[in-house]
Symmetry: C2
Subunit: 402 residues, 2 copies
Amino acid sequence: MAQTQTRLDGLFSSAAKRVAPGAPGGRGLSPDRVNFAGGAPDPKSMPTKAMGAAAVRAMEKNGQWALQYGAAAGYDGLVEQLLIKLKRDNGVDVRPENVLITAGASQAIDLVCDALVDPGDTIISEEPAFLGALRLFNAHQAKIVGIPMDDRGMKMDVLAQTLADCKARGVQPKFIYTIPTFQNPTGVTTTLDRRLRILELAKEYNVAVLEDDAYFDLRFSGERLPMLITLDDAGLVIYTGTFSKIIGAGLRLGWVIGPVPLIHKVSKLKPDGGTSPFASHIVAEYAPSQLEEHVKELVNVYRNRRDAMLGALKAEMPEEITWTEPEGGFFVWLTLPEGMDSVAIQPEAAAHGVDFMPGTVFYPNQEGRRNIRLAYSFTDEETIRRGVKILAGILREYLPAT
Amino acid sequence: MAQTQTRLDGLFSSAAKRVAPGAPGGRGLSPDRVNFAGGAPDPKSMPTKAMGAAAVRAMEKNGQWALQYGAAAGYDGLVEQLLIKLKRDNGVDVRPENVLITAGASQAIDLVCDALVDPGDTIISEEPAFLGALRLFNAHQAKIVGIPMDDRGMKMDVLAQTLADCKARGVQPKFIYTIPTFQNPTGVTTTLDRRLRILELAKEYNVAVLEDDAYFDLRFSGERLPMLITLDDAGLVIYTGTFSKIIGAGLRLGWVIGPVPLIHKVSKLKPDGGTSPFASHIVAEYAPSQLEEHVKELVNVYRNRRDAMLGALKAEMPEEITWTEPEGGFFVWLTLPEGMDSVAIQPEAAAHGVDFMPGTVFYPNQEGRRNIRLAYSFTDEETIRRGVKILAGILREYLPAT
């Protein structure tokens, strides 16, 4: 039975009908290419040995529960370890009932949408924004209103005006989506005064804030800024995070933190009978003795890569091209001069073995043709330098005549 | 920051507003009670040691990819092992592109709904039906039309009449939902002639069939019957299964198998960046040398428990009460005489330390008051006998006067 012929075609839902044809989704991560495209963590830094040992300990101690169905909110032993980490490193002090463990930050964002968004509802998002979040907002048939960013975060005058406009039109936006620290795709960190202003506006217009914080721990330089959720006094901030960048994305373990009524809703809307108790027990075994140290190692790994990336850009790129200088995270955001088109350049770069994401995929409306996201997380310094050199040569060819 | 106060209340989606108040979802599995309630596997049979060892091997061999983002369709090494198992044990012969790995069978059902069901669409379901499926159908705002069952499966005359009625009213049902083998909650296995009839009707009315097959491997007696997907020649059957009952529910690993166009749709609708590569790599390491043998052990464990349950029912229950005699799976379904109400009896049984599910939770419309589901999967034989004795005593008190 080949199961390629089907009579299902007339039965698809409207969401399924909107799915574009083409290859199934997935991230092809070839180690042979210069991969600046995905936001994938460094494979060589994965704590494989320690996780194997943690698995043995978890199976010995508590294996029959690690292999059993779990509570909808997640394994309480993992929640406990997460709260210790968040208090120690992030300044977030919440209670277990404020936490729900999810299959990565993606499911966290998906569940927040389930809880807050009906088709046609408005979401305000920084622009450019995390591709995965935009995809989920679209899947919920939300209307996405973008707020442009500069190198200090969203432009506050535009955010204020947008909220005022919504109110004037009788539209209640459901939440403001932001990655305030080492943003994906730009690498920009929102300044403290803008963080405070976002919260002020959220309170004024009674809009939730979805703070997506996948990169917080990976700061290479500069001072830590308080997370929005630690500044919030109105219970309007919902915070999502993930173990993807600090232990391993393959665990699919993330979290959503928010007011108890929200956590209650998402625990009931979650379809899957508890996020992997198996992986959760193993991480809860790994974290107490090893997570803090491992994050320090990762900060060094990624700092070296950022430095290699910024150094190579400075050495190789034509002066017409500018870029952000992230203090942490995985990404640098290039801006090309007027008249250049990253979408057109991408295939040629790929033909020369260098993969990147054109800016357009981070915009709801195909803007961003003059931008390129470069991830320095996946490749080593030598490859970064080689890749930037190749890319610079290609971009140079496309420079508009002056 | 307590995060119990919130101003989010006005922002919830219509789905979130429908969430009932009360404690967060989850399965409290206390080993101190006689637990006939959940369909949880036997904790003592979990292959904890072997899974710990498999984790070490998986981390050594391929840890940097087990901890990395994975393809949306799932880890291909696990798909390969699954196809070997399905061909060997289930008579299912499909190709990798017919498979998508999910976070348990629950996510598989959820994704099939995403791909086929718009709000207001009709799903035809056997009745009583798996609680988790009904919950997901409701979450998709489907109209559920129930088909009553007898001890050979759904009543075919009612199914045929229902499909004809839908057609007459211009309603296109999206799929027929069934657990044909060791059904949850009744333990009933659909006969071969009814399996063929379901497919005949599906073709006649061009309706998909969702075959949920969580218990196939756990047959204690009788002959294996062909799965619907192996009898289907129209590409209308979608098959979901899970490692929950044969390795461990805590892995949250299941699958959906179907025609390529459907798998393409669900891979694009899946929000979570690849189902746990970590757990997938470990299971792919465990399965080749140990799964087949482990399933044989489980069949013995659960056969003994079924025998203990049926023996105790026969010894203890008043003659007015009847029950199904499952050839496999986890469940026995009791029918009480007219005038008795399992919902009213449940709290008293719980007060005496015996937990069960009243029939009502398996019906879309609160029918099933004269039914009780007893799961014999979680407790040992001694406890089963003790629990049935207690329960029989309580039921006897509630018998209507004759």
